[in-house]
Structures are given as C-alpha cells and as structure tokens.
Amino acid sequence: MATPLEFTEATRERAAEILDRYPDEYRKSAVVPLLHLAQEEWGYVSPEAMACVARLIGCSPVKVAEIATFYPMFNREPVGEHVLAVCHTLPCALTGCGSVFDHLSEKLGIGLGETTADGRFTLRKSECLAACDRGPVLLVNRRLHTHVSPAKVDEILAELDKG
C-alpha cells in the first residue's frame, strides 16, 4: 500500500465531532460519516483513506472496506471535478431521463461511469433520488436539478463551465 494518509488538522476536528455523536464503545458507528469526510478530503475513498478511517475507529481495515465498497456513494477511484448522476429509476424513466443521459453522454463524449479526459466531469446513473414529481432529475455534485431536459443540461453545463 502507498504512504499512509492522515486527515488534515481541520478534518480531524470534524472527525472528533462526529465520533462524539456515538457512545465511546461504539465508535464503529461513525464509519459512514467518516468515509464521507474522507471522500470530501481526498475526492475518493482509496484503500489508504479506508486505513485512515480504520485507525480513527480502531477496527480492522477490512471492516471499513466492507462498508466503503458496499455503498454506491463512495467513489473507489478518482472522479471528475463535477459528478453528474442522472436518476434512471422508473418515474424518471417515464419522464425521459434516457434522453437526458444520452445528451450528457454525447456532449461530454463519455459513457456511463467514465470521466472526461480533462478530469472535469464524471457521468453516472443514480437510483431513485426521491424527487419523482420533478423528474427527470440530475444530481450535480451536492445539488439536485429537477425537470431536466436536454436544453436544461446545456444550461447546467454552461453554468459549471463558468465555475
């Protein structure tokens, strides 16, 4: 394994705050929130990041890997600056998420799960995001866009380009 990773001082404080939410003998409860923290810090959850979380919790690293590899939200590989996730579950499928995905794929020149060569965009599909009345929906990083159409995709991408 590569060099061990450690959280920055600021993140360590947040980690301590998270650990405080659970009784001391059940530190492992913090594994998901800490993995979120790791992903914020490093963009994805590498084995080194898992080992870092395991050290904070005081458990075997494979027990963190069990969690990090289970949940789809944890990136196992580096991702683009912007992660675009098109909901593709039934209600969004009924309202045309297919054309949204296809349009994004064509505009960005990448397929499902791929990242653009410049490292700016990663394209994904997501399961139901619980905004079915406003579909198709598109999760861009932490922000949910609703009633998305190919035209709106262009607007969203333009906005992201502006930074």
Partner: protein, 536 residues
C-alpha cells in the same frame, strides 16, 4: 429435556439446543451451509428453513439455525414448502457456481455436492452468463476460489468470533459481493487454515492440500496433535503411509472445532525428516549401522559396564515429552528395575510463544505434547539434576528417550553428554543427541505411536498409530522391553492398554483411568472431571 414433534413423531431432546444440532442428535440431517456449531448462527443461506407451528394449526417458515428448542415445539421437516425451498436454494446457489467438481479439491466432502445430490433439480434452467470473479491469494496458507464461494460467511465470522483478528470481510454489494482481505493485510493468523475446514464448498482451500489425491482415497486415523501441550484432537488423513492432511477433531474441552496452523502443518516436519531405519552403534569412534542383535548387545554390555563400575547408581534415564505416558512409564521401570537407578530426568526444550484466541482457544508455550504426562510417569527429576549428576561424576551412563525432531542440544548439554562413559538414545533421525550416543535405537514419531498423552490441562488422550515405523525402526515401548528382558527384567506385555492399567495402579492421579474410559474425547487425571474448556 424437552419433547418436540417432528413430522408428527415425538422426540425428546435437550432443551435450549439449536434445532439443527438437536435434529443431528436424533440422526436427522437438516441441510445447511452457513450454520456451524462453533460459530454464532447467521441465517443467511436459507437452506435450513423448516416449518414450525407458530399458532395452533398454523405453520410458518423459520431458520432452524436460530431456533432454540422449547418443550412442545412442533416442526415439519418434509413438507412441500420445506422441500421446495431447498430445491430453490440449491438452484440459486448453483446458477453462478462453476461446474468444476472434477478438479475441485472439495469434491467428495462438499456440502454443495451432497445437497445437490439430495435436493437439486438435476438440470439447469440458467442460460445467462455466470459471474467469474478471479481467484485470490488470501494469505500464507489459504487461497480463495472466488467463483465457488456461496457467501455463507463462515470464514469472516471465524475471524471475527474465534480469532478476533478480522482479516476477512465481504466487500462489494449484492450479487457482486466477495470475500476479501484488505490490501496488504493478508489472512495470516495462528488459526487461519481452519477457514478451509469450515468452508462448506471448495472456495477456501489450503495451499497445502491443493491438487492432492481425492479425499475418498485416505484412511482416517484419530489422534492428538504433537505440536504443543494443548493436545488438539485431530484426524490424520493417510495414504501410502504418509500424512496428507490433518484436520481438527471436535473436543469441546480441548480445542473446540479448531486447531492452530502450526499444529496442522507440523506433520511435514515429522515426515520430511531423514528417518533412521536401522540401529547405530559406535565403532572406532564413528556411528555405524548395526543389526538389532548387534546394537542390543552393544547397549546391554555398555550399560552393564557402567553399572559394574564405581558408584551405586551410575546409570540415569531421561524421558521424553514427545513420547507417550506408557513409553515414559516403561523407561522409569527400566531405570529403576534394570539399572537400579534413582535418577530420572525429563528432557525439556525451551518454551515457545503462548497465545489465546478471542474465543479462548489456547496454544501452549510448551511445544511438546506430553510434558505433563512424562513428568507424571517419571517423577520429579529434571534434566538439570541429571546434568549436575554428570558434572560431579555420579552419573556415568545415560539412557535417553529422544525423538523430538525440534530438539537441538546447547553447548553445555553437549559437553555434559560427551563426558558420559556410555550413552544410549532412542531417536528418529541423526539428531545432535544421537551423534553423541554409543548406541542409537530407531524409534517412532508421534504419528506412529499407540498410547496416551496427558495435555497441559491434565487430560489423558489417546494416540492411534497412523502407520508402522519405517524400515527397521521399532516402537519405543518394545525396545525398552527388549533391553529390560536382556537385563533380566520383565517389563510386561506390549499392549498400551495393559501398560495404562499398570499406570492406573501405580501413578498418582491416574487411578481409575482405562483405555475405554479415555475413549476419543480423553479423561481428566486426578478424577477432577472435565476441566474448563480451552476450545472456543
């Protein structure tokens, strides 16, 4: 006790016992994969589903592995709902399972194979593509054939519950789930190879037993592990007078369902040693092969010369912690009756590392199997006493039960032994000790021994010979008896059961012990009854 009903027949079983185990006690097999009596029930494989009366007249599906017997419970083991489920589970487990039984090492002892034979549908309705996850090297002893895994998680639970080392986990999700280790943290603990025993399919295999002859070719012999003073109960699998595999044999009071890796694989050391197949005697300063009568003559005349020399008790005997109680007992008698010697010593090599698992499985620091028994048989003497006796010249001849292949002599010991006028040694190879001897008798390794040993907790356990000693090597008890006979002392019959009877009459703590009483689970010395369980 509780009375329960199974398929309209009544049975009496132990209250609180798990249904799978209770049924097994009755000779009824409830097929299962994830349940293992040494682990907490998990209920994930769903093979053991049976029907239980939940309300009067109303049956519901339950996992047998989690049901604890209570009086009045009513089960259906053979209803259509139960049988259909088994058929369904078998189909699900097989759709992604490779059809590689012809070269799978588990074939013949595979639960999937067995249950498929009993409950499978005989043809596949699966026309999709099977998952083919790659094979993984999990650690020094274990390989995972990922395609064969049915995700019962016995192995992960073993590492969590028994060793507490938690090297194994399930990674990924859903149908992509796989057993895995983490990066550079291999499955490497003192008990790792047990996961291959408990894997119900051919997914986890020991590298040691990979591509070996088919399991149905082996003769199985129950014995005790010679690796340490815990004395794990084992079964050896034998073919052509060779051990191919050692598996732990259940003994709740000693080792539970487990054994350590060192003990499991120690058969290689014993077996790979260059065995001595004929006696040796010193001729013109060099050890040379001799016939048994020649060697015996040399031994007896050498001993007689020491006895005839100055001093009252010039001969001493040293017993062995890798020899049986019976062998050590006969040695003491030989010393006392033929040599008229009060000197008995016990060879001891330095302690190794002790380790106790999370579940309480214990590996003893004493890396020999019978220190306690040998001491009981020989009395209080120590090796140090003997060395002192040699040093001050009161001991001039020595008769040593050797046979521990791991034993090397320290400089001081070697120096002391060189001072002896005459040294007779039983050994299995040309050890440091044998090289100093005047006569060497080729004896047996523990796998060839028939007798008892007493483990660290004081449990007397039986060893059964897996095969006869090679070439001209002989059972150590028979050698001792022959030497006695040549010196005019009758040490009695050759049957270890008979010797044990004698021990029971003469050795403190062994009263009442018989071969039958010891059986295959051992019996405690001192009439203390079962001691605290060391197994987990």
């Amino acid at each position: 006790m509780a009375t329960i009903t199974i398929d309209e027949k009544q049975y009496t079983v132990e209250e609180g016992r798990n249904l799978i185990d209770a049924a097994a006690d009755l000779g009824i097999d409830i097929p299962h994969f994830c349940y293992h009596p040494g682990l907490a029930p998990d209920g994930n494989c769903r093979m053991c589903l049976t029907e239980m009366e939940i309300r009067p007249g109303q049956f519901g599906i339950v996992t047998s592995c989690t049901i604890r017997i209570k009086d009045g419970m009513n089960f259906r083991f053979n209803s259509p709902a139960v049988l259909d489920n088994r058929k369904g589970i078998m189909e699900f487990l097989l759709i992604n399972h490779p059809l590689d039984c012809p070269w799978c090492d588990q074939a013949g002892e595979c639960k999937l194979q067995d249950h498929s034979f009993d409950h499978g549908r005989g043809h596949s309705r699966f026309v999709e593509t099977k998952r083919v996850p790659p094979k993984k090297d999990l650690g020094p002893h274990i390989t995972l054939y990922t395609t064969r895994c049915i995700l019962c998680q016995r192995c992960t639970r073993f590492c969590d519950e028994i060793t507490g080392t938690s090297e194994l986990g399930v990674v990924q999700m859903g149908s992509k789930s796989e057993i895995a280790t983490f990066e550079d943290v291999p499955l490497d603990n003192k008990m790792s190879a047990n996961v291959a025993d408990i894997c119900p399919v051919g997914a986890l295999v020991t590298k040691d037993f990979l591509y070996k002859p088919r399991i149905w070719h082996y003769e199985k012999v129950d014995t005790v592990c010679p690796g340490c003073a815990t004395g794990c109960n084992t079964t050896l699998e034998i073919l052509h007078q060779k051990v191919y595999r050692t598996k732990p044999r259940h003994n709740e009071e000693v080792n539970g369902y487990w054994m350590c890796d060192e003990g499991r694989f120690c058969y290689h050391g014993w077996q790979d040693v260059d065995r001595m197949k004929a006696p040796l005697k010193r001729v013109d300063g060099e050890l040379a092969q001799a016939t048994w009568p020649d060697a015996m003559d040399a031994a007896v005349s050498g001993i007689q010369a020491v006895l005839d020399g100055e001093g009252d008790s010039a001969m001493a005997v040293i017993g062995s912690p890798v020899a049986t109680n019976e062998e050590n007992y006969l040695l003491r008698r030989l010393g006392a009756e033929a040599f008229g010697s009060p000197w008995t010593g016990l060879d001891r090599k330095p302690d190794g590392e002790a380790w106790t698992s999370k579940s309480g499985f214990h590996i003893d620091a004493d890396k020999t199997p019978n220190t306690r028994g040998a001491r009981d048989m020989l009395g209080a003497g120590s090796l140090e006493d003997i060395l002192r006796g040699i040093g001050d010249g009161s001991i001039r001849g020595l008769y040593v039960l050797g046979g521990d292949i791991g034993r090397t002599l320290s400089t001081e010991e070697a120096e002391a032994f060189r001072k002896l006028e005459f040294l007779v040694v039983h050994d299995v190879h040309r050890s440091d000790l044998a090289e100093l001897a005047d006569v060497v008798f080729p004896g047996t390794i523990p796998f060839e021994k028939n007798g008892t040993m007493t483990n660290g907790q004081g449990r007397v356990q039986r060893l059964n010979p897996a095969f006869p000693p090679p070439g001209g090597a002989r059972e150590d008890g028979a050698i001792l008896r022959y030497v006695g006979q040549r010196m005019g002392v009758d040490l009695g019959g050759t049957d270890p059961a008979g010797v044990l009877e004698e021990i029971a009459g003469n050795v403190e703590g062994y009263a009442g012990l018989t071969y039958d009483l010891i059986g295959d689970q051992g019996a405690m010395t001192g009439g203390e009854g079962p001691s605290e369980a060391a197994g987990g």
